[in-house]
Symmetry: C2
Subunit: 197 residues, 2 copies
């Protein structure tokens, strides 16, 4: 029987109990390539969008995933916590916020995410185009970045808006399915149900 | 410029250098759901099929992924090694080998994989159907399994046959793209190319 309840407190608890692991904020994001095949890569959790359940990810506009998300905006995150043996499979829709956005609030989110990144992370967006063949032993052209400079064109914020979360705890052998459903009064809320692991 | 070379030695080296991590043999497998959305979950590496590059995975025939693979046989594995900072994105085609196979060699592979699993792992295939709602506090019906008994009907071997591997080493900042290509003499072989990370 389904009851109301969100997955977010479980995820926050998992993040805390696995915080000592360097890669506890890494997860795998699956999208669909334009040839109809699934595509899967590790990305870094950049926090929730303030006051929401939406998950933020930074990426380079020149990566394949941008083209893939434009073609099909649905994705599934698989986030496994190695110490607590918990897995979150988070399905939802992905929004791309790049420098061409005309919404000032979205541009501000993108800027905020840029400044929240380390200088080392920001540097990556100035490198040569990901996945193109390496040409010679080209010296790195840019070796200085002004700390106060805003996001470069290649910097992009992805906002992942979940509508289903399949949670499993391999220690307690419990599994919960969370779905975002209409409540009847025109709103939507998270419902959870115990399912077999 | 592409040159001949396989990704398998790199993967074997990563498995060895990360062997002290309990979950170094876990990776994320993305497939396509029948509603056109990507689907993603953690599975366990059960070795290579003898003398090949094919990756073996055990699963329950009652899980969603079986229906998904029947609908679209392509998948992408994302395998991140937390200690050596290496990622393998392995694209390929998945074959399902369940008890209904009529090929004796395949049935033997399935049986081999069953007996290579721990008794605890084998037990899982006797539990209630995954993802169905939990009904009451049903006592576990089966609490004994004959060690010498062969695979149960719900046990299934997946054989993942790679055709592309995108390898990145985040320590050395090197990335290699491996593709399985025709060699001109009617055969195929692995070629590798250095690409930008």
């Amino acid at each position: 029987m389904a009851s109301s309840g969100s997955w977010k407190p479980l995820l926050l608890a998992a993040l805390e109990s696995n915080a000592h692991l360097k890669n506890s904020t890494y997860f795998q994001l699956a999208t669909m390539a334009s040839n109809g095949r699934p595509s899967n890569r590790t990305v870094v959790f950049r926090g929730f969008q303030e006051g929401t359940d939406k998950i933020q990810i930074n990426t380079d506009t020149r990566t394949n995933k941008i083209e893939e998300i434009r073609h099909c905006p649905f994705g599934e995150i698989c986030w496994y916590f190695a110490d607590s043996w918990e897995q979150f499979r988070i399905g939802g829709r992905i929004e791309i916020i790049d420098g061409s956005s005309t919404d000032p609030a979205k541009l501000m989110q993108r800027e905020k995410s840029w400044f929240a990144s380390s200088l080392k992370s920001r540097f990556q967006y100035l490198g040569p185009a990901p996945r193109l063949p390496v040409v010679g032993k080209e010296p790195r052209k840019v070796n200085h970045l002004d700390q106060s400079a805003g996001p470069v064109d290649t910097f992009c914020l992805l906002v992942f808006d979940p509508d289903q979360v399949d949670y499993v705890n391999l220690k307690s052998n419990e599994r919960l399915l969370f779905t975002f459903r209409p409540t009847g009064d025109g709103c939507q809320s998270w419902m959870s149900e115990k399912i077999n692991p």
